[in-house]
Symmetry: none
Subunit: 251 residues, 2 copies
């Protein structure tokens, strides 16, 4: 069995407690993961984080801190959010962690994948969730759903390591396509589409934000290849140009 | 497969840090385990342990503290020790954690099983290990073998829950989405897109037919759900309408 070639990045979004950053780093190092990004931490005190990262100081030192989630996932071709699944209307595939490996295998995932963990108290916001291709739920019991951040990272890192060994599947015959589009390409597409729809009057001020989240969701679901993204980008550019003529009064 | 009827007890032997006792309790509660015993803790400050056991205070409160390991495992029919496997001459089966469930199944284990975790710095002593039927190793990487105690408990608790769940039910493959769009819906979408692109001047007479074939291919590759197709149809209809205003000279 050939293991999947996935290059994992773990992203902590708005962590409150530096000790948890350190604990997360240690858990990653325990399972051979090294790429940790931190988005807008509440207390960026790396010294404390380092002290909690026994044996994994290197992971903390090489961690990247960035202001926004998009900065951390722009080059990812797959983005997975973790959630307790308690919030309603998530409107997203909710994948039990033990089934993640099989899911990755079916989708023949390769390249850079980002796994997101939200803030300790609140988890990932709806905005963050809208950037995810799918959501992963650690199968905790209803009596005690919420996990400690460092422990949640440990469990996920363990599962990724376990699955690589145990669950990797023989690759199926692949369709010849260009690789998947990365998040940055999709965001550019979304911006372009938003512009076209603004000019077309499709987006109303009241529902604009919600509609864009819906559109982003749709874009992610399409699983565009980078070629698809380029073609659609070209189509949108043309429509944009034509609509621009109206705005500029050229027609 | 029928789930194993194992009644798990987790035993922390000589834990140094009360926060780790609390963290362990929380992880156990997360995965439906409740029976925690603590052997001769260095600092039996339960208040601190309770503070770290968010949502699992009950597990800390009902935890039993006893002076010796034997007091904690006397009624167990199976005793498993956790180890990094670094020490020599362990003279014991070393079971990778991911294979624990299969091993338990082969031995048709039932009744009370105890899973032991040693002190943070030193792990289980040879004396403690000598009381174990087998040793379990969490498959950490050689670069960073040693885990945080609370995280090690979390990973083991997850694995016990996972094995139970995965063994008990057929794996789900489901993804809650509307069904795939049918060909008719796709053709309607393609017609609409073609119209938008004709008006936009994207389709040139010479290459029009080839381009439409390319677009149809793209549409099929997207594997749209019927919901996706409706949303895209709505988007296109709006753009079509706006462009129509140009053609009819309304703008």
């Amino acid at each position: 069995m050939k293991p999947l070639q996935v290059d994992w990045r773990v992203v902590l979004v708005r962590p409150r407690n530096p000790l948890n950053i350190g604990a997360a780093a240690r858990a990653l190092a325990n399972f051979g993961l090294r790429d940790m990004w931190v988005v807008a931490p509440f207390e960026p005190t790396w010294q404390e984080a380092r002290s909690a990262a026994v044996g994994a100081e290197q992971v903390v030192e090489s961690a990247r801190a960035v202001p926004t989630l998009l900065d951390a996932i722009g080059d990812a071709t797959l983005v997975l959010g973790t959630t307790t699944g308690q919030r309603r209307n998530l409107d997203r595939d909710l994948l039990p962690l033990p089934e993640l490996a099989a899911w990755l295998g079916r989708r023949k995932v390769s390249g850079r994948a980002a796994l997101l963990f939200g803030s300790e108290k609140t988890g990932l916001s709806n905005e963050h969730l809208s950037l995810c291709h799918a959501l992963v739920r650690i199968p905790t019991t209803p009596d005690c759903v919420s996990m400690n951040l460092g422990q949640a990272v440990a469990v996920c890192a363990y599962e990724l390591a376990r699955a690589r060994v145990v669950a990797a599947r023989p690759p199926r015959v692949t369709v010849h396509r260009s690789g998947p589009a990365d998040l940055e390409a999709l965001e550019r597409l979304l911006e372009r589409a938003a512009h076209v729809l603004d000019v077309s009057g499709y987006l109303k001020p009241k529902s604009r934000a919600a509609m864009l989240i819906k559109l982003r969701r749709l874009l992610l679901d399409l699983e565009l290849s980078s070629h698809d993204a380029r073609v659609l980008g070209g189509v949108l550019a043309q429509v944009e140009w034509k609509l621009g003529q109206i705005v500029n009064g050229e027609l």
